[in-house]
């Protein structure tokens, strides 16, 4: 991995590499939390602007947790009063083939709507960890490093998410 964080901090080139590597992940993280694409887009942009403004302090080994920390703080500043996510919605992966029958697709669509509702009812802290694990394929260790919290804390949040899913899925 590139070492930066010398006297001049991040170069333009490092900055672009970091952007390409983390933009989607930060966007997803924020989306899991707020459930709104426009807000997640804006906060992602602000996260990277804050990274640039503090480029003298950035080190290659901590840049990931630094980004997540900025993103989380921006989210808290902006939305700490928002308790319920309104339009939480996950899409079918675009590279999945669409060969199924219309009936199947309709059924899947309805199932997905219910799934979105259940996910929206999970507290934001647990939802983001749970979906980072399920969708972004991050291990508990990866998530613990990114968010700079213990694996035990991840397990706890996963359990909260799972308990809600378990209860709700029985009623689907």
């Amino acid at each position: 991995m590139t070492i930066f964080g010398g006297k001049d901090g991040l170069s333009e080139n490092d900055y672009k590499l970091i952007f390409n590597q983390f933009r989607r992940k930060i966007y997803n993280f924020l989306y899991y939390k707020c459930g709104d694409g426009d807000t997640a887009d804006d906060l992602t942009q602000n996260t990277f602007i804050a990274l640039w403004e503090n480029r003298a302090l950035v080190r290659s080994d901590t840049v990931q947790s630094y980004l997540y920390k900025i993103a989380e703080n921006l989210f808290l500043n902006e939305l700490k009063h928002r308790k319920i996510v309104q339009n939480f919605h996950l899409e079918r992966k675009s590279d999945e083939p669409l060969s199924e029958s219309p009936e199947f697709l309709q059924e899947e669509h309805e199932f997905r709507e219910k799934m979105d509702k259940i996910l929206a009812s999970i507290p934001e802290n647990s939802r983001s960890v749970f979906l980072m694990n399920r969708i972004d394929d991050m291990t508990y260790n990866d998530i613990a490093n990114a968010l700079n919290i213990s694996v035990k804390a991840i397990e706890k949040r996963m359990k909260i998410a799972l308990d809600i899913l378990r209860e709700a899925s029985l009623k689907v």
Binding site: G37, R92, I118, T139, M158
Partner: protein, 315 residues
Amino acid sequence: MKSEKNQTMFNDNQHNEMYQKLLENRLSETEMAEHFSDNPKLLNLLDTLKNSGTPVKKSDEHAWAELVAKRNATQARIKPQNIRTLAATLSVAASILIIIGLVVLFRETEIKHIAQAGEHLTVYLPDSSQVTLNAETEIRYDQKSWDTDRTLELKGEAFFEVKKGSRFTVQTLNGTVEVLGTSFNTFSRANDFRAACYTGKVKVSNAVDVEILTPGERVESVSTGLKKQTFKPSENSDWRNGVFEYESIDLQIVIDEIQRQFKVEISYPTDLAGRTYTGNFTNKNIDDALQNICIPMNLTYKMTQNKIEIFHQTN
């Protein structure tokens, strides 16, 4: 027996461990069947989740371009940090104050973007609203007051994608277009004024008339005021993609557009004035464009360097 136990004892440690394994995708088929036969919906849900992603609106390139535009706009705020003695700091502060005073007094805060003939130009405004300028088009706005007053002046034709926020105003010599957050096209050249709404709501006014447009509606200025019509807002058939479509429009307007798109001069017989044209051309190839115009109108043309002469077909 086992499944009954599962249903009644959710807090059973062993069972919880199974859920933990399930989450991490470490469960074998047999284990799965044994422990979760009572809850197939959960398995289905976890499976669906695996094939899901967040809705992403912008490509990485698009997001990068916006980021750089915004970063460069805010960069001026960052000051270098130096440690100095009090006296040195004060004298620097004093001279900075004087310089700032001079800069504030004399600074040109007006920003101007111009697209020359034969080129299109996409620019971002300070609030990351996007403007695409057609050939021979100019916009100008005051950077200093943009945060409080989103107003710009337009000469020519441009397509706007406006970020949600306060009122956004486009002023032209022929009229004004106002919106909150939307995408729309505005055309103002000579006395010709047109606007078309793609998303959101747009208010268009000129000296004599006011119209509110919803998506799929457009207006053009006529002698009595503004005339409202409908159109199909399609992604692929507007000038931003190099496609120019016309329906019963004054031939002179079409010829003017070709002059701008290809940076050429076109002369034509005066008796063409008043004839109308329906059809389209693209800005990829000038011969194709001229043929699209000339053949249906029973005209022909001759091209020498950048000068083109159109005349009547003689049989």
